[in-house]
């Protein structure tokens, strides 16, 4: 009996030592929320990796103040409103300082409600639906652009460069894709482009033959492809070429991913995309790319850059505030004005960082900058 008690005492003493050992090193927990499984996992993992790399470089450069190390907690939103809310609650209970995510607007919007009640600051690297920031949430920021601007750039490109008279629009009925398609339809009408049809497909469809036959018959100048993800874009563009549709194809930021070219190589050639301009000559860009290739390998998707910036900005705010108090983080965020990988980081009172959409085109194995609607110049 005596022995057991001694053993128990020694063990508990060890446990206390271990616990206090970890408590001495102050850890900053940060969260990511993105679809890590399921069809949108390519972008979801980009977001996760972007944040992980941001945390690593931030530490290496000795920028972290008030904490000894950063721990990244990644939760899976699966691009599903219900799962995203559950994941947000999980992050909340883990006590993360802020959340970098989510990907689908339909997942970001409900999970942001949960996090703002926490409150835990949230910054989305990828959700472009206007409602993400326009609901008056106090702790919501956005690193990427807004669909209202994206659609404007898209229509300007159709009218001025492609000289389109007619457009056929497809969306796959998600919060993101449907709203963006509606903005494009509106802007196109205003610009004098006739919208031949605005049709829908279902998320997760494989067969697009019926809709493609319609497009072929309508014979539009431009086909606007508004889909939730490259996973849907790949089979769609392959079938579109097979069906012999001759229209120019314009798509948007969610379909923009190296996977799209890799998996639909020949069919992808000449497809135009609206995506935020990223200056690939800056020091920050090169640092990130090097770290990404070393850690993950391959070419990062567009949202890895935005996620890096989102996490980096938040980490800077936390470091400057010296605490994880949401109020102090918010004060620092609103004062923020610094260069990032994707843009100059500065927020308006809604928490938006501004849009800088340009047109890119698929050429060979990569996306090439093509046209800048804000200046009207080709690259």
């Amino acid at each position: 009996m005596q022995r057991i008690i001694t053993k128990a005492l020694v063990l508990s003493a060890l446990c206390v030592l271990l616990i206090s050992g970890t408590a001495v090193a102050k850890t900053l927990k940060i969260g990511t929320l993105s679809p890590i499984t399921g069809p949108y996992a390519a972008d979801g993992n980009d977001i996760k990796n972007g944040a992980v790399i941001a945390a690593e470089i931030f530490q290496q450069k000795g920028l972290l103040k008030g904490f000894d190390k950063i721990e990244v907690v990644s939760e899976d939103s699966a691009c599903d409103p219900r799962q995203a809310v559950a994941a947000a609650n999980k992050l909340l209970s883990q006590g993360v300082a802020f959340v970098d995510g989510a990907y689908c607007s339909s997942a970001t919007i409900p999970s942001s409600e949960v996090l703002n009640e926490g409150p835990i600051p949230m910054i989305t690297p990828a959700s472009t639906n206007p409602d993400v920031t326009l609901r008056g949430l106090k702790y919501m920021w956005r690193m990427c652009g807004i669909d209202a601007h994206q659609s404007k750039s898209a229509v300007e490109f159709m009218a001025k460069v492609l000289k389109a008279k007619t457009v056929f629009i497809i969306d796959d009925k998600t919060t993101y894709s449907q709203h963006l398609a509606e903005y494009v339809a509106e802007a196109a009408k205003a610009a004098g482009i006739q919208v031949l049809a605005h049709d829908h497909v279902n998320e997760g469809d494989m067969d697009f033959s019926a809709v493609l036959t319609k497009i072929k018959q309508a014979n539009p100048d431009v086909f606007y492809m508004s889909l939730q993800n490259s996973a849907a874009g790949i089979p769609f563009i392959k079938q579109l070429r097979q069906a012999g549709v001759k229209a120019q194809v314009l798509s948007q930021d969610a379909v923009y991913h190296p996977q799209f070219i890799e998996k639909a190589h020949d069919a992808a050639q000449g497809v135009y995309f609206t995506f935020g301009f990223i200056d690939d000559t800056t020091e920050m860009y090169k640092t990130f790319l090097k770290a990404y290739t070393a850690k993950v390998g391959g070419q990062p998707g567009g949202y890895a850059f935005y996620s890096f910036d989102a996490a980096w900005t938040m980490l800077t705010a936390v470091s400057k505030a010296g605490s994880t108090d949401p109020e102090k983080i918010r004060a620092e965020m609103m004062k923020m004005d610094m260069p990032g990988v994707t843009k100059r980081i500065k927020f308006d009172q809604n928490g938006d960082s501004g849009s800088n959409y340009i047109i890119q085109v698929v050429k060979g194995d990569k996306f090439v900058n093509y046209y800048d609607p804000s200046t009207g110049k080709f690259y």
Partner: protein, 303 residues
Amino acid sequence: MDFFLQQCINGLTLGGFYALIALGYTMVFGVIQLINFAHGEFFAAGGYMGVILLSFCASMGFLETHPLLCLGGSMLLAMGYCAMLAMAVEKIAYMPLRRASRLSMLLSALGMSIFLQNGLMLTQGVYSKSYPTVFTNKVLHLGNVSISYMQIMTLALTAGLLVGLNALVFRTRIGTAMRATAQDKVMSALVGINANRVISMTFAIGAGLAAAAGIMVGMYYGTVRYDMGFVPGIKAFAAAVLGGIGNITGAMLGGLIIGLVEIFAAAYISGEYKDVFAFIILIAMLYFRPTGIMGENVDDTRV
């Protein structure tokens, strides 16, 4: 008119895929009265086997020199693989429960479906996989209607498989044994039919057809994804019920009808309603004729 004909061809191609998958549901139901919810996963597994084998062919350079040989070989191997997979699933998940209540078997099937789908995700990754181009995208123009060679080939293969299955079930000894087991398990056992073997064969044949559909879907649509079995599985199940579950001809008809309805709903109403209409047809049929289209002569032809 051209538009209509073109959509007919689209619908028949899609319907053919559904028919091939639906057969597996209907045959298994005929023999052991189980709705095998894991059946859609055999279809996905077939699609993946196809992409693995064809990519291997492509990397060896055989695909360009002997496209038909590669395709035929891959298809046979994938069908064989899925047949064995289905037999294993039957042995592991269904055979021990054969005397249990039907609900237990159904739950076991659902569990198996989740297990197989996640297994596919873990081993093959979450990203979609691209099929190598087996045939160039040559298109045959008949007036304004265009049929791609791919479509002709899938239609021909589907028709061939359906005819082959009919011959197998109605002309061969094993087919006779299957029909006998379906009609009366005890009686057929008394006349010396090995029920276990027949049930195994039924699973194998159904999964083989689903695997063939998987490869064709992969080639036709260009990509496969780990969760590709779910939605077509549900639709094919609907097709099997529509045609009268347990009835082979019914499943073929049901598949074609669901495919055509889906395409026409997308073509003439809107793409977003195509699934709605596919299931409205099913509900209407169940309301007015609960046994399905061919449900009446269920005892003569079911397997």
